[in-house]
């Protein structure tokens, strides 16, 4: 079995490391510090950590006030409560004022929240966050990329949303891998079809591409770690070469990666395309693997989609 690591843990460690290097970095949480792993930062930098309690609206507002005081706040909770409940606070007190320098790092995104069920599984967060002017949306694919995303976010002057899933995930990148927000990484180059994937689905796409190769089908796999600004150049280049595009995301097919890629293609280079994601339904309880299977977020299903459009 490949190397596994929790992206959440990577976030907590990276945040603490960043806190060491930059004393302007402060962290906030809404009573989920041990789940989001901001607790690691909290232990090391007690005076720069604020637990606002179970109050996500206030979480975003207080973070905005700290940004207005010259700090770089990292505000964390679960994706459903941050991007969902506090959407308007993010819009009106973080983005609208002056693209305030708040980093919104939300964990437990997508259906892989698992047993807690549909109420806790955010499958709309990418859609919501990418609709906000000035917001950068990062969806790292593994623990190594999560750390890079945290550091990269601290260098962006403005609001950044980082989406992190709950389960441990296979390490599929390495330290030398270039991570530049807005620049998608072509992980595998192919000629028959281009698979654009984000977050945990990048690993599934790589699995699928390896299987497809055995059958003589050559698939590109592009790790779209930045949904906004989307790397239109890479999208168009891959689409031009393969003329067939698949998108895969652990998110609703409405408004997420699939929509973002489709928007670019339809205006520039319409090609055959298929979106894999949550098909406009809510999640439910189950183990993460059962749910991925149930909602069709598997290598097998990617293979099927590729064969459908070839």
């Amino acid at each position: 079995m490949e190397n596994m690591k929790s992206p959440r843990l990577a976030y907590g460690e990276a945040l603490a490391e960043l806190g060491e290097k930059n004393e302007k970095v402060v962290a906030l949480d809404a009573d989920l510090a041990h789940a989001t792993q901001t607790a690691i930062f909290a232990e090391r930098f007690k005076s720069r950590f604020f637990n606002v309690g179970i109050a996500e609206q206030n979480l975003m507002g207080v973070a905005a006030g700290l940004a207005l005081s010259g700090f770089i706040p990292f505000a964390s909770t679960f994706a459903i409560f941050g991007a969902g409940r506090a959407f308007e606070q993010i819009r009106n007190t973080i983005c609208y004022p002056n693209a305030l320098n708040v980093k919104i790092v939300l964990t437990h995104a997508g259906i892989t929240v698992g047993e807690d069920g549909g109420s806790h599984q955010a499958v709309e967060d990418i859609s919501l966050m990418r609709s906000l002017p000035g917001m950068t949306v990062l969806v790292p694919c593994d623990a190594i990329e999560t750390k890079k995303a945290v550091f990269a976010a601290s260098n962006i002057d403005g609001p950044v949303y980082i989406r992190i899933a709950r389960p441990v995930a296979p390490i599929i990148t390495n330290e030398d891998h270039n991570f530049e927000p807005g620049r998608a990484n072509v992980m595998r180059k192919g000629s028959d079809v281009a698979i654009f994937a984000t977050g945990l689905m990048v690993a599934k796409a790589l699995e699928a591409a390896a299987e497809l190769e055995k059958e003589g089908i050559s698939a590109s796999v592009v790790n779209v770690h930045t949904i906004k600004p989307l790397d239109a150049e890479t999208v168009l280049k891959e689409a031009a070469r393969t003329k067939k595009v698949i998108t895969v995301e652990e998110h609703s097919v409405i408004g997420g990666l699939g929509s973002a890629v489709a928007e670019i293609l339809i205006e520039n280079m319409p090609v055959r395309m298929k979106r894999i994601g949550i098909s406009d339904v809510f999640g439910q309880s189950g183990t993460p693997d059962e749910l991925l299977e149930y909602y069709g977020l598997t290598g097998e299903n990617i293979i099927k989609a590729v064969k459908d459009i070839l």
């Binding site: 402060v26 005076s47 720069r48 604020f50 606002v52 309690g53 109050a55 609206q57 206030n58 975003m60 507002g61 207080v62 973070a63 905005a64 006030g65 700290l66 940004a67 207005l68 005081s69 010259g70 700090f71 706040p73 308007e88 606070q89 009106n92 007190t93 609208y96 004022p97 002056n98």
Partner: protein
Amino acid sequence: MNLKELQDISKIVRQDIIKMIGKAGSGHPGGSLSIVEILVSLYYEVMNIKPEDPRWEDRDRLVLSKGHGCPALYSVLARRGYFDTDELATLRRLGSILQGHPDMKKTPGIDASTGSLGQGLSVAVGMALGAKLKRKGYRVFCIIGDGEMQEGQIWEALMASIHYKLDNLTIILDHNKLQIDGPNDTVMSLGNINDRMTAFGFDVYDVDGHDFDVLIKTLRSENNAGRPKFIIANTVKGKGVSFMENQVGWHGKAPNAEEVNKALMELGGEI
């Protein structure tokens, strides 16, 4: 400044509010007129500010959480020299620096964008925390509305300001007792605010929100160590214009030309 000077400025600010909203054809006169003395006290007598340097790091901050009262704030900022008074006539026009609700990226002197009720107090809490973290001595003032207190987020922020012992924070409630749909107590009762805020742990001051002497004294006084202040400023919605006073209908309605003239006459015309 003596009382007469403060009253004269207030009169000018009230005239500005009527002219601005009249010209714009929309806006919120009632809740603008009710906060005039609070703002004049803050910007002329209480806050440590440099109008020529609106982003001066050590300045005291004001968050107008009830952002719809911004015509009053715009007038005070202009009269205080943050920007040209000619701008006042552009309120709510396309391209204006004076948006329908406060926009910090457009208006010099606005410390936080507000308007969506319930959100500004959280920003003020963050600013007060930030000041403490930086070991800066500046103070943060936040004006909230009574109708606004029905927003759940206000209570989240109230809890936080007590929890973090924000003795650099002063919350001023513009208690004019009316909101769009009617009296607070009819729409959604706020109960005894003094009792509730005292129980929360605030040092509560129940004052006449149009009385300069008491306002300035209360706003100036240092907070007790570890305690945020909560000032209940009892005000009259539409204050200074007889036909607007205590009239719920003037929450969000612009006066027509005739009403503008009538109001300006009452406010004493030129000073």
